[in-house]
């Protein structure tokens, strides 16, 4: 390490994690870390254990072995419940309530002032829809209601499970810009995706396959390591090399 340069603080440190779901090992002996203030992409095919890993980091997944430290304390600690926000793959908001009613409820639970609601809606471009019933919105709009709910408490760590599925390219670009803005302001983002063109938007990448970490590094590091340009090819190389 270069003298004088502090090692980046880690927002998440996973050490020898093992998760068993429904009798099969979903994650086996996994160790990785996520740098604070970064946008880290968790990539891998569906069924690779991405959601399970995110659930474990948020502290809602029962784990078999290993440790997970989040913002310096054990994952799932009560102290983390207002510092970490989690957006599941399916929008976990109330379909029979309006956008504003959903956000008002979550704001009350977090103990944040109602003024935050407008800001959260603005950042996901939903301001015009605040009185609409969520069930009447499109899939992409519902996802953004879920995301806005997670932004309410200004979390230090934002865990997002495939937040851009079903969004048009313009919205996807806007959301990734938002993620970069949040990271620039100090928030750590851990974002899962199976779309490779989103990988280039991340500072760091983690490639997961069958519950095992195949590779990690910046997009450029991974390109250099595999001698290919397109990230799609990078992953094909890495998967072939591991087989």
């Amino acid at each position: 390490m270069t003298p004088g340069v502090q090692p980046a603080a880690m927002a998440v440190v996973v050490d020898r994690l093992r998760v068993v779901r429904g009798g099969t090992t979903a994650i086996d002996d996994l160790s990785l870390s996520v740098a604070a203030g970064s946008v880290t992409g968790l990539l891998g095919p569906s069924g690779s254990g991405k959601s399970t890993l995110l659930r474990a980091i948020v502290g809602v997944q029962r784990i078999k072995a290993g440790t997970i430290e989040v913002l310096g304390v054990e994952a799932g600690s009560p102290a983390l419940r207002s510092r970490v926000a989690y957006v599941t793959q399916a929008p976990s908001v109330y379909m029979d309530l309006s956008v504003a009613e959903n956000l008002r409820y979550f704001a009350r639970l977090l103990g944040v002032p109602a003024a935050r609601i407008d800001r959260a809606l603005e950042s996901v471009a939903l301001s015009g829809l605040s009185n609409r019933i969520v069930g009447s919105l499109s899939g992409g709009e519902r996802t953004r209601v879920s995301l806005a709910s997670a932004l309410l408490g200004d979390p230090e760590l934002l865990v997002l499970d495939e937040p851009t599925v079903g969004l048009d390219p313009l919205l996807r670009r806007d959301l990734w810009n938002l993620f970069r803005e949040l990271a620039a302001a100090g928030t750590t983002l851990l974002v899962s995706s199976h779309v490779m063109d989103e990988a280039d938007r991340c500072n760091e990448l983690l490639l997961l396959r069958d519950g095992v970490l195949l590779a990690s590094g910046t997009p450029d590091e991974l390109r250099a390591a595999t001698g290919t340009q397109a990230l799609d090819d990078v992953f094909l190389r890495l998967i072939e090399a591991s087989a």
Partner: protein, 245 residues
Amino acid sequence: MSVRSTEATAIRVLTQLRRDPRTILLIVGVPCVLEVLLKEIFAGRPALFEHVGAPLLGLFPFISMFVVTSVTMLRERTSGTLERLMSMPPGKLDIVGGYAIAFASVAAVQATAVSIVAFGVLDLRVAGPRWGVVLLAVANATLGMALGLFVSAFATTEFQAVEFMPAFVFPQLLLCGLFVARSDMARWLQVVADALPLSYAYDALARDAAGGPYGGRFAADVAVTVAAIVIALTLGAVTLRRRTP
């Protein structure tokens, strides 16, 4: 426990219910229609209507609140919103407490409506104070709500939640003493009935309808009913899991 989270949850659940006027109509209207039906089928035997009319004021709400609450809570469990809540600051008792307050207030409206129909329209006569019957009907409905909240933990689909109604509710109805006095049942049935919360809720209601006596037994029946509500709500809170397999 946080008052803010409990209150916010109660308001949220009530807002959801308000969005579903058909369900409200069913909750409030069906027991009233059933009470009318009861009066009509016993038109030739008014004494029987007097005998079962008052207890059923409490038992109809018991059944409907059981179903409505277990399905609502199951939805929360399966839609992912419970997982979100469990990753957020509120305590489990805040969530369950919010549900309890919301549905208990619906139960109060329901029990009041069916009492107005029974006393005002159908001319049901009870020996004890009518407000006592109304209060005990609310307690019955709240008991149904608390049990529904608890058993929703054991259902994975809405079909199962609805099927829990005959499984959990009918045996209690048969054994509570409405159809056959518990003292006339076989000994083992009496033992089973003594273990079921509805037996006590029914006894209190029947005793008040009969005009007493309001001695220690009545107080004990009310106390057991309230305790069963609290225990079922606490068990309901325990079934909310922060971490799932």
